[in-house]
């Protein structure tokens, strides 16, 4: 099994929250328009002139040792063998909110029918050759999805090129 996950590039995110709305559009959160499987948080550090503002877009992390699976009394949450996605069987869910208490990321949501719903990495879309709605929409291209080995490889290559560029192009005489 290859574990699938999101990757997020904090340097690119502008906090535009397109990912939140795309998730709502994909999942038909129209009865309560505040529900989404993604949450964008702003964080500010320091004071002018050295203040920094950053944003984080968070969804279900598809934990390797998922507390929601362990605490669910109805056995409604399970891990999909093919890609490690944590899925909820809403027919089994009793709406007890145990998963919500156990989850460190605030991923479980409870739409109007009272049963748990969460991000499944748009599993059906991926099986049909499409990216998750939030990844597809992101104008900053800060979000991506894939097997974690591939995502780490991409990040390693990007960081290496940035280091090389600063060494080769910026101060050639100092080399």
């Amino acid at each position: 099994m290859s574990q699938y996950a999101f990757s997020f590039d904090v340097s690119r995110c502008s906090g535009c929250m397109a990912c939140v709305v795309a998730c709502q559009d994909q999942n038909d959160f129209v009865a309560d328009e505040t529900v989404a499987f993604r949450h964008v948080t702003k964080y500010e550090e320091g004071e002018c002139p050295s203040a920094r503002i950053s944003y984080f877009s968070l969804a279900c992390q598809q934990c390797g040792d998922a507390p929601c699976i362990i605490v669910c009394p109805a056995g409604a949450i399970s891990r999909r063998q093919e890609d490690g996605t944590v899925l909820v069987d809403r027919d089994l869910c009793v709406g007890c909110h145990s998963c919500e208490l156990a989850c460190p990321f605030g991923a479980p949501k409870f739409p109007e029918d009272g049963k748990m719903a969460k991000c499944d990495l748009c599993v059906t879309r991926r099986e049909n050759g499409m990216k998750p709605a939030c990844v597809r929409v992101c104008p900053a291209q800060a979000l991506d999805v894939g097997p974690i080995e591939e995502l780490s490889k991409k990040k390693a290559e990007k960081a290496s090129i940035a280091i090389l560029k600063s060494l080769i192009f910026v101060s050639p005489k100092e080399l």
Binding site: S11, R12, C13, S14, G15, C16, M17, A18, V20, V21, A22, Q24, D25, Q26, V30, E33, T34, E44, G46, E47, C48, P49, A51, R52, I53, S54, Y55, C122, T124, R125, E127, N128, M130, A133, R136, V137, C138, P139, A140, Q141, A162, K165, F169
Partner: protein, 713 residues
């Protein structure tokens, strides 16, 4: 996989009955491509169009909200005739025929009584139908055609024409250095934002100018965080360093410019230390930025469409900024700022077109003077429309002639400085027709409201730079009886100007006529539902001025504008403090010590278009003023506490968004909020004397804590 699962995930295909149809988003001007997921005639989801070269399959939070924007309970379904007092919202449905008959007879009667100029034609957002509306106005005989661009983008065009005789576009693909001047692309045109990030990762240097701490300023090599309203001084300070250190382009300056010695002598007044005192940007940062910009192999200035001209010295500030392009020889040079002829509403495509000829169906000389022509003669001699900020004054005064009727498209009185004054003006009109998707607060003032449809429900041509075009057909049936703006204009034209044989030929025929010089035909574009690059056209060369000179009175780039000189205005790009500022009005600043800047974009809003869309509105529910933690502490304001934002003119009740997004001493308020309209804070006469543009981005205010948080004080 079961059909139920596929339908729930909205996977297109025969099994689910979901079809992907190509359209575009026109909530803002970026024109992102949309893949509309349609099932049984209903929109079930949207996604970006991967083939679109501008948006590359992405959208912002506004475009992603399209479904709630289109299927919105506030959509107008039929033509409406007002039955209650203006503003009451009481209307009765009427047929399209009755609406057209009433409009045609109403406008004709006023034309016969008071002349065609007493009927004005106005358009807000969007822009695609504007050539048709302008032609309708002039064929009708009225010179008074206005657009929202007349308080937004066009003053940057005017400033560039004064200096260069043309507009300038950044050559971002080729440049080695980007000087981004007061433009928060991640929020204003999100899909274009990746262009900057990708340039930076190619090693392109980024200098960001602006008072706000944005994602771009965080990525920039240098951030020049200036006080609002001081762009002109900063630009002159940069020029000082560039000239002192001999970093300017001698060949270009000697051969292709007018007035360099006067300019050189004027910038002597802006050494780094003085510039720091005016702008607040540290002297050493100014020097560093000037060296980086001027000594890069090539450098492009990215101009804001409006931020730099929304000041009482806006035109001259903007001229000071773009003078740097010629000074460093980056004019029309590879990687610099290019001259690319525009077509179809200011899209730099380099295509030959007869757009101006199409729009100007009657020459200005054969019509009455335009609204604003007495006070802003340069605006009227250089720009092809009347000056909108002068309109409420003429409605009230009736001088030099009365304004009695408006045929409006997407009018929003909240875009005017002193918006309540414009609202009073609309209420005073004898006859006001507004066309809109929604029953807006402005539409409630109209005598007749016509329902227009969204880009998803109509057919239209959209153009992009570089040379990409899309023809879209409706992807869903129109909501109610709503119709395309162009169809509405054409039906009115049949009744009002039956002699205009070209316009009456219809949308495609008119567009074919406009693009005839380029040989582009709508039928060819229609063959490509997601759009196509317009191939086999001559490339646009660099450095065209070497053979054809500059379209200015002197034939050169004018550091000293002859047009300004002849109008009795200072020909140099001089710096003047904002009419209200801690330096220009120190007494006022004692009572109103904070600088107010309004209208900077938020990602989920577009003027006042998205407040009624729940997905967008939930991202920011309440009207909020951005205030620095230092200023909030000094006033005892808690996070998200209610405050009064006050100017000498008015005050509004808003929540405090305590954030380092704004520097100390500056507060930023988004405009157009129905319950807290920032434009009521600004005097309708707080304007740039050359363009007539409002000084939205620098005036004085105070923020006062409301003791009883959440109460209705």
């Amino acid at each position: 996989m079961s059909r139920e699962i596929l339908v729930k995930a909205k996977i297109p295909g025969a099994e689910t009955g979901i079809e992907v149809k190509k359209t575009i988003c026109l909530i803002c001007g970026a024109q992102c491509g949309i893949d509309a997921y349609v099932k049984d005639g209903s929109l079930v989801k949207v996604e970006g169009t991967a083939e679109n070269p501008v948006s590359r399959g992405t959208l912002c939070s506004k475009g992603a909200s399209s479904r709630q924007w289109i299927n919105n309970p506030e959509r107008v379904h039929t033509p409406l005739l007002r039955t209650g007092p203006r503003g009451s919202g009481r209307f009765m449905p009427i047929s399209w025929d009755e609406a057209f008959e009433r409009i045609a007879s109403g406008l004709t009667k006023i034309k016969e009584e008071s002349g065609p100029e007493s009927v004005v034609f106005f358009t807000g957002y969007p822009k695609w139908y504007r050539p048709f509306l302008k032609r309708l106005a002039h064929s009708f005989g009225s010179p008074n055609y206005f657009t929202e661009s007349g308080t937004c983008f066009l003053a940057t065009v005017m400033a560039n024409h004064l200096t260069y005789g043309t507009t300038l576009w950044p050559d971002l693909k080729e440049t080695k250095c980007i000087l981004n001047w007061c433009r928060n692309a991640p929020y204003s045109q999100a899909p274009g934002y990746a262009t900057y990030l990708n340039a930076a990762s190619r090693g392109v240097k980024l200098i960001d100018v602006g008072p706000l701490s944005t994602t771009l300023s965080a990525q920039a090599d240098i951030h020049l965080r200036l006080r609002p309203g001081t762009s002109g001084a900063l630009a002159l300070g940069l020029a000082h360093v560039i000239i002192e250190e001999n970093l300017y382009d001698r060949e270009f300056v000697e051969n292709w410019t007018l007035g360099f010695e006067e300019y050189r002598s004027y910038v002597q007044g802006f050494p780094p230390k003085t510039t720091e005192e005016i702008t607040g940007v540290p002297a050493e940062t100014i020097v560093k930025a000037a060296r980086l910009y001027a000594s890069s192999e090539s450098a492009s200035i990215v101009q804001s469409p409006s931020v730099t001209v929304h000041h009482t010295n806006g035109i001259q500030n903007h001229r000071a900024i773009t003078a740097l392009i010629g000074l460093t020889g980056n004019f029309d040079r590879k990687g610099g700022n290019r001259v690319i002829p525009e077509s179809y509403y200011h899209t730099p495509t380099g295509l030959k077109s007869r757009e101006a000829e199409f729009e100007q169906s009657r020459p200005w000389e054969e019509m009455a003077p335009r609204v604003g022509q007495d006070r802003y003669p340069l605006w009227c001699s250089m720009m092809d429309e009347a000056q909108a900020t002068a309109l409420p004054f003429q409605i009230q005064s009736g001088k030099p002639y009365p304004i009695r009727a408006m045929l409006g498209f997407a009018v929003n009185y909240r875009m005017w400085p002193g918006s309540d004054f414009m609202k009073e003006g609309l209420e005073k009109l004898d006859f006001f027709v507004d066309t809109d998707l929604f029953m807006t607060d402005t539409a409630k003032l109209a005598d007749i409201v016509l329902p227009s449809c969204s880009s998803f429900e109509r057919r239209q041509l959209t153009m992009y730079s570089p040379r990409y075009a899309v023809w879209t057909e409706p992807v869903i049936p129109p909501v109610g009886e709503s119709r395309s703006d162009v169809d509405i204009i054409l039906d009115l034209a049949r009744r009002l100007i039956p002699h205009d044989s070209l316009l009456l030929q219809g949308q495609e025929a008119c567009l074919d006529w406009i693009f005839e010089p380029s040989g582009i035909k709508m039928d060819d574009i229609k063959k490509h539902p997601a759009g196509c690059f317009l191939e086999n056209l001559p490339p646009i060369p660099y450095e065209k001025y070497r053979t054809s000179g500059f379209p200015t009175p002197s034939g050169k780039m004018e550091f000293t504008s002859l047009v300004l000189k002849n109008a009795g205005i200072d020909p140099l790009p001089v710096y003047r403090e904002p009419a209200q500022s801690p330096l220009s009005t120190p007494d006022l600043a004692k009572e109103y010590p904070l600088i107010l800047t309004t209208g900077a974009r938020l990602p989920m809003f577009m003027h006042s278009r998205m407040y009624r869309v729940p997905w967008a509105r939930n991202l920011r529910r309440d009207p909020m003023v951005d205030i620095n933690p230092r200023d909030a502490r000094a006033r005892g304001i808690p996070p998200e506490g209610w405050v009064m934002l006050a100017t000498p003119r008015e005050s509004i009740r808003v929540k405090a968004n305590i954030t380092e997004f704004v520097p100390p001493g500056v507060v930023n308020m988004y405009h157009g909020f129905p319950s807290a309209d920032a434009n009521t804070l600004i005097d309708p006469d707080y304007r740039d004397p050359i363009s007539g543009y409002p000084g939205f981005k620098s005036l004085l205010c105070q923020v006062i804590k409301i003791q009883d948080n959440g109460g209705n004080k």
